[in-house]
Amino acid sequence: MRNSCTALVIVAVFLAIAGAPPVTADDATNPEATFKAFRAYFTKKFPKLALNDFVNGPYSMDADLRKQWQQIEELPPYDFAIERGKDMFAAAFKNGKSYGDCFPDKGIGIRQNYPYFDEKSGEVITLELALNRCREANGEALFSYVKDEMASLTAYMAFTSRGKPFDIKVPNDPRALAAFRNGERYFYTRRGQLNFSCASCHVQNPGNHIRTEVLAPALGILNAMPIYRSEWNSMGTISRRFVTCNSQTRGVPLEPQDEEFRDVEYFLSYMANGLPISGPAARP
């Protein structure tokens, strides 16, 4: 019985893998070529959609949802997070400094530059990580990456960048290229008992339904973060979204801000270069 169960599960995994399109990828890491191919795929798949509309996720894919969203935007559920984040951002730490002292331009209008590759440490720095490192450097306790405080801070910072295009750089540094490639690998890798990759939903099926949800396109998917999700009845950070995606495949989620998560955020943000920041936003 045990052997037959094992065999069944293994066969199911093989069958799912065998269902992947027989396309091969070049091993050479070339972010610019990857960007062009990614952009061309989505614009060809949705030829009537204005490029900047991709940042509106499922609302760019479904006319009925779009009407509901336009009504939601009259009294946005994320407004409280912006206000709270603004107050938190301005408040002084115990040592008299504040978040603005940790960031270029005092932290205003800079969200579109995150994540970036830090050549000193050789790692990808996301906005959430930078905020917690700022707190740590100033003797403050770290915030959870998946709870309201972090969502509020990033909501305010995104709000100050609204309309500014993503401007993510991948320097010609082998470590940066490796991080980009690792993010790309993570994005396309199937995981969890359901054998889904990020791409299974957000490349192969944007606009289609998964149960009652309309799947968002991968292009521009992070421009709207953080989001107020009706399903959560609360705000959620990029970390929360990634952790939830892992769980939805029936995989044990990685820790928030794990290197893999930071690299996939780097990859996806670079793919969205030129598209405007629209966060914070509301999602079903």
Binding site: R2, C5, T6, V9, I10, A12, V13, F14, I17, A20, P21, P22, V23, T24, A25, D26, D27, A33, T34, A37, F38, Y41, E184, R185, Y188, T189, R190, R191, G192, Q193, N195, S197, A199, V203, Q204, S247, R250, G251, V252, L254, E260
Partner: protein, 102 residues
Amino acid sequence: MRAFFVAASLIVIAAAMPARAAGSKADVDAALKAAQDAENAAGALKNRWIPTEQALAAAKKAASAGDFDTAVKEANRAEALARASIVQAKEQETAWKALVIH
């Protein structure tokens, strides 16, 4: 008549017994170790599955309650799931490239 009662008693006793004799504590320990080793290997590949964790937890709970039969069954299920997640992770080391847009 006596033979009838003996036969009936044996049927009642047999029906009350588990379908299969309960595993020993040694069987449980071996099954749990095999399952945990496989799950640790999946963890090293950053590809643990939620149902594996659930089966492992059920196996440990049953073992603590002295239900060795269930413990062995759940541990075996956990091991099978963990091994499937390892197969998936190893396949995906190269298979992910097949999905790349280019």
